[in-house]
């Protein structure tokens, strides 16, 4: 690629934020969406981890039924429950899971929510490939799957084509915590992680690097 072509790509600012509370991240996203809408900031990819938290999608009534643990049990484990404005059902976030929140303006050429979901899946599929894992899709079940087990979850909000929320990719997540819920309301499928699949220890920041690279590739952005 010539430098000219390179700079023709839209810029993507990557912010690696480490461990950050769910509520705090929620408020940050809300602000960034407005900033992005006003074009004061470029497209963003936030990469972070959450302390243990169970989050419910917009269809909270059904989602709550998919939290199988009692509130006492959750309190004992120090796990919060949050309602959020994203799509999707219920999910779990915790340390060892890389959460990606892209704040993108999908206009002018990516105004298709399905395409956006498929693209996020693609980012995680390619990242898996970087670690020699063959991941794929299961028709009708959004997310990134390895066999019948889910490695990456997706829940998105789009407000006038500005995206928020995003994906959660299990690297060394405590998979037992998923037993507290029926992930995404899908009861007959399991959850997995990169470390479980590869059987070795994997550096989180290396996975972040891979995600950024794959994200820039799939979304045709120039990461900065």
């Amino acid at each position: 690629m010539t430098p000219g072509v390179l700079s023709a790509l839209r810029q993507l600012e990557v912010r690696r934020m480490g461990l950050i509370g769910y509520q705090e991240a929620l408020e940050l996203q809300r602000e960034l969406v407005e900033e992005r809408r006003a074009n004061r900031i470029p497209d963003l990819l936030l990469l972070l981890q959450h302390p243990p938290v169970i989050t419910l999608g917009v269809r909270s009534e059904t989602a709550r039924a998919n939290v199988v643990a009692t509130s006492e049990r959750l309190a004992e484990l120090g796990i919060e429950v949050h309602e959020t404005g994203r799509g999707g059902d219920v999910t779990y976030h915790g340390p060892g899971q890389i959460v990606g929140y892209p704040i993108l303006d999908l206009r002018p050429d990516r105004c298709d929510v399905h395409k956006y979901v498929r693209d996020l899946e693609e980012v995680m599929i390619r990242t898996c490939a970087d670690y020699g894992i063959a991941a794929g899709r299961i028709a009708g079940l959004t997310g990134t799957w390895v066999g019948a087990e889910k490695i990456g979850a997706i829940g998105i909000r789009i407000s006038r084509w500005i995206t928020s929320h995003g994906f959660a990719f299990n690297v060394r997540t405590d998979l037992d915590h998923f037993k507290l819920i029926v992930p995404c309301g899908i009861s007959d499928r399991g959850v997995t992680s990169l470390e479980r699949l590869t059987g070795r220890t994997i550096a989180l920041d290396a996975v972040e690097d891979a995600l950024v690279r794959r994200f820039s590739e799939v979304f045709e952005r120039r990461a900065a």
């Binding site: 917009v58 269809r59 799509g87 002018p108 399905h114 407000s159 006038r160």
Partner: protein, 439 residues
């Protein structure tokens, strides 16, 4: 006129959507682009803005219900029925609201002036009903009473308050200026004075021929008159400056040759204009100030990119508008440009298709001009002129090479856009065209 609210199609493969939440209730006032409801498909929750300003009069689809895309889910009624029905035909896009201050407001003028004079109607259109409505709705009861007592239309007043709200001071100043002090920004031009004394204000106020000289005198066509008025008004309104860029179209030309057959199969011609439109849209995204209007002390940033394309007609010029040009790809833009140009020439444009442009492209190059210095299409703040596209010798790596080149000119309003911004905008257009990404 009530506006139906449709279930939007959020993607090619999406056939239906579920309403998860109504953000507004029946009876609520809504502004265009304000979040109205949330829908959910698959793993995506999307917030949908209102398509128009008014009052939410009916919700047809309740929370939790799923309907096919393009089904009517609600109705927005107009807050008031102001002047939506004026004939527009071929009128060039709207004049700036400030035009009103140029219309003489002598106290002893005939009371029926507004609705009767076409120019006034035009000015009214220009003021964009949505903002008018909101101004009207948002003004305080006191302001509304003053308006009633003085027989003043609030929508005609520039509001300095929050969100364009008309304050008590605004209306008192307005009434003051109406009765003769006239200090608003429309800058009294000679033409405006002439209009008061009965001469037609065509902007052609100087005497063109002495009686008895060998001339033929023909009345202007309505379109010609409107163009004349609009051009003079634009010159008077905006501080025009121009930047000229020399752009290499070799990449575009190559893609055009590659894709020609494919596009012909799809039933459209791939023209340079589609590429230019695409590049402009992307530059407008990066520089929202170029996709804006100036309204008194406020900058109005237009969220939509509605691209006007000037089309030369036998009898004049018309600027049909491609709405939401930012949502179209190269093929979509090619089709839209061909479509509006054809229908402009066969006089089959609908009135609304010449309205609400946010930026204009004009193409004097088609007649051989190297570059033009176009006049801004009010109330926009910039216009792109495309010079003739031809092979020229240029210097590449210290050798003379033959490349397909063209001059592009940006005419812009220095009141709002400085040279640095205008040039950066043009550099982006140039960059987009020279490195055009066919995807």
């Amino acid at each position: 006129m009530p506006t139906p609210v449709l279930m939007p199609q959020m993607g090619e493969s999406i056939a239906e959507g579920t309403i998860v939440r109504w953000i507004k209730k029946v009876g609520d006032a809504v502004d265009r682009d304000e979040p109205l409801f949330e829908i959910s498909t698959d793993k995506v929750d999307a917030e949908i803005p209102a398509p128009a300003t008014g009052v939410l009069t009916e919700i047809k689809v309740n929370e939790g219900e799923t309907v096919a895309v393009n089904s009517v889910v609600a109705t927005i009624g107009a807050a008031s029925e102001i002047s939506k029905q004026e004939p527009l035909g071929s009128a060039p896009p709207p004049a700036a609201p400030s035009l009103d201050s140029v219309v003489p407001r002598d106290v002893d003028a005939p009371p029926a002036k507004p609705a009767a004079t076409p120019r006034k109607t035009n000015g009214r259109t220009a003021a964009k009903p949505s903002e008018d409505d909101s101004r009207k709705q948002r003004s305080s009861p006191l302001v509304r009473r003053i308006a009633r007592d003085n027989d003043v239309d609030i929508s005609q007043i520039h509001g300095s308050g929050l969100g364009g709200r008309v304050t008590k001071n605004d209306i008192l100043e307005y009434i003051d200026s109406e009765t003769g002090t006239g200090d608003s920004l429309g800058a009294e031009a000679p033409g405006a004075k002439a209009a008061g004394s009965g001469t037609r204000d065509t902007g052609l106020g100087t005497r063109a021929a002495d009686p008895g000289s060998r001339v033929e005198i023909k009345p202007l066509s309505v379109m010609r008159k409107k163009i004349a008025e609009h051009m003079v008004m634009s010159r008077r309104t905006s501080a025009h400056v121009h930047s000229v860029f020399h752009v290499n179209f070799s990449t575009v030309e190559r893609i055009r040759q590659q894709k020609k057959a494919e596009y012909e199969q799809l039933g459209t011609k791939l023209t340079y204009m589609a590429f230019i439109a695409k590049a402009v849209v992307s530059a407008l995204r990066r520089f929202p100030i170029v996709n804006a209007s100036l309204d008194g002390d406020n900058v109005i940033y237009k969220k939509d990119i509605n691209l006007g394309i000037a089309v030369a007609l036998e009898s004049g010029l018309i600027v049909p508008v491609i709405k939401h040009a930012d949502e179209k790809n190269l093929l979509g833009l090619s089709r839209a440009i061909a479509d509006i140009a054809t229908r402009a020439r066969s006089k089959q444009l609908k009135p609304e298709e010449v309205h609400d442009g946010t930026f204009t492209i004009t193409n004097p190059g088609q007649f051989g001009s190297q570059f033009g210095m176009p006049i801004i299409n009010q109330p926009q703040v910039a216009i792109l002129g495309v010079g003739t596209i031809e092979k020229r010798p240029i210097v590449v790596d210290d050798a003379i090479a033959i490349r397909t080149m063209a001059y592009l000119t940006l005419g812009y309003d220095h009141r709002l856009v400085d040279g640095a911004t205008g040039d950066q905008f043009m550099a982006e257009v140039k960059q987009q065209l020279e490195n055009f990404d066919a995807q």
